[in-house]
């Protein structure tokens, strides 16, 4: 295995699939020579040409809908929304059209498309470029929702997303783009099925359930607890919000009896509520030794100032404190 970045892993997943399947096209703002706002698609227009890697006008609604329409007509489009905040402009086509199309037409068609968009704060991009909106799309039947936390997962899950016959919202994490991690060689065509959580660290005293860029942060804290022999913490990365690997969560909760749910998105109305409910509604409820707690982002827009920005999401300190409260 080589070490490549999360961005490169995403690039490879798209490029490898595009080499094999000419029905895949890729649409988005400045994905061509610019390589995308985060450089994810660098080199792709050179390899695949302007017919397959299409720079679009700034028209999020139309490009999302055009991806859906092309998908209904035999292609497998990938559409990049430059910041996930701008999904707000595309929700109509994503939610009312792409997600419902197959069902409302009695199964006549399908909409095999992937909408990729980066989310999260930490880059100083402030209120309108830093949101984490995964909870919205996870609430829409017909959509699948993925948020990878490592280069390995990003590549493997994106391949599955591209091969999936449904609209998949693939939410990337800005702050992970430059993070490197081990990924199999190019020849080695692996993929990771949607709907399978990953135990990123096994433990027996408490389970952290998290996803996205909070995964490495939770792992750091968990290691510290281990080193200090304070507790042996299991860290589960759900990886896909829809479908959700409920069994993995419930089993771990039963094993450890203590659960902390961590995500960057604002806590109120976040996906954490779904995870908590999944556990307390199940028989894991009877195994719990402590309340199931969430640690989400503060219920404020993401501010610009770097110190403030850093404090609105779960920090290592806050995670540590939350764990101590539960242990």
């Amino acid at each position: 295995m080589r070490d490549i970045t999360y961005a490169q892993a995403i690039n490879e997943a798209m490029s490898e699939e595009m080499r094999k399947d000419d029905s895949i096209i890729f649409l988005g703002e400045d994905i061509g020579v610019y390589g995308g706002a985060f450089g994810v698609s660098r080199g792709m227009i050179e390899e695949f040409g302007e017919e397959r890697v299409r720079d679009t006008p700034i028209s999020e609604l139309a490009i999302t809908g055009a991806a859906a329409g092309a998908a209904m007509n035999g292609l497998r489009p990938i559409v990049e929304i430059m910041f996930s905040d701008f999904m707000t402009l595309a929700m109509e086509q994503l939610v009312n059209q792409a997600a419902k199309n197959r069902f409302q037409f009695g199964g006549q068609g399908s909409v095999p498309m992937v909408l990729r968009a980066p989310g999260g704060s930490g880059t100083g991009a402030a209120e309108q470029h830093s949101q984490s909106l995964e909870a919205w799309v996870a609430h829409v039947p017909g959509l699948k929702v993925v948020i990878p936390s490592t280069p390995y997962d990003a590549k493997g899950l994106l391949k599955s997303a591209i091969r999936d016959n449904n609209p998949v919202v693939f939410l990337e994490q800005k702050l992970l783009y430059r993070v490197k991690g081990p990924v199999p060689e190019i020849e080695d065509d692996y993929s990771i099925p949607l709907g399978v959580a990953d135990v990123k660290r096994e433990g027996k005293d408490l389970t952290i359930i998290t996803y996205g860029r909070m995964v490495p942060r939770c792992l750091t804290v968990a290691e510290r607890f281990a080193e200090a022999k304070e507790a042996d913490i299991e860290v589960i990365d759900i990886r896909t919000l829809v479908p959700l690997d409920k069994k993995a969560l419930i089993d771990s909760a039963k094993k450890t009896g203590r659960v902390l749910v961590v995500h960057e998105a604002c806590q109120t109305g976040g996906f954490g509520g779904e995870i908590v409910s999944t556990i307390v509604e199940s028989d894991a409820f009877f195994y719990l030794d402590a309340p199931v707690k969430r640690l989400g982002g503060l219920d404020v827009p993401i501010p610009y100032n770097p110190q403030l920005e850093a404090q609105v999401v779960p920090t290592e300190e806050k995670i540590t404190a939350a764990l101590r409260e539960l242990l």
Binding site: A62, A66, A71, N73, E92, Q97, Q104, G106
Partner: protein, 319 residues
Amino acid sequence: MKLPKAVHKELYYKMLLTREFEQTAAKLFIQGKVHGTAHFCIGEEATGVGVCSALEKEDLITQTHRGHNQGIGKNMDINRMMAEFLGKETGYCKGKGGCMHIADFSVGSLGANGVVAGGMPIATGAALAQKYRKSEHITVCFFGDGAANEGAFHESLNLASVWKLPVLFVCTNNQYGMSTSIKKSMNIEDISIRATSYGIKGIALDGNDVVNIYQETKKAKEHVKEHGPMLMVLNTYRWMGHSKSDAQLYRTKEEVEQWKEQCPIKRHRAYLLENGIFTEKELDAVQQEAADAVRAAVEFAENSPEPKIENIFDDVYAD
């Protein structure tokens, strides 16, 4: 260009079939057999019928909420349309879509849309796939005058234009979006001038002249294949209320009556008789055929089973 007799018959039949279908559906409503709402296109039959009859099966359309004429124009099966109307298992959408969501991918309809302008980006994407696959076929995107004020209109026409996609945007301008007159919703008189903003061709036609619409669509298809998108505005009128319940306080009875005189079916009939293309008797027979077909459709629909609750999760996701 003179049209073959068979085409005339087809146009006349489809317009009658649309009207018959809708009048019958309206009765079913009054009888309480239909759930929800419906948007009837009576008075506008020439638009969808004229355009779609000029297309080939492989050409695609996206329909509006007021699109029975579009579907019938594209040769949808009225049995399955009526069954969907009644929410039956044998309907086009297995009873899950209802009359705002009728689709028939097998005849090239990518479906009606409950969202105003909702089909516009989709049509653009369908045409993108056609262009990418170097298809000889085009996509026709129906939308209303009200839809022309949605952002989706602008973004779709612009995108189609910069990519020179084979899509014909057809605006059924029936003068109102619900209760709102175009005089209150836009500050222009001729919607087709909006083509200017995208550097594409725009034309406005009498939307009640089915023969001309048919002919212009044939030409438009060639234009679109060669030059990319085009905007075709069909000026017409909706006779009935916007949907099931509409007191129609926003317009006068006189206005409605004036437009009724422009009935597209009557006009086509007069044309056919004047030009000696068909006799009264022949045309009456066509009318009878339409009435019979609709009667059969109601029977089919009424005798069809309800969908089963245990199938509710089907088709939320594709495998």
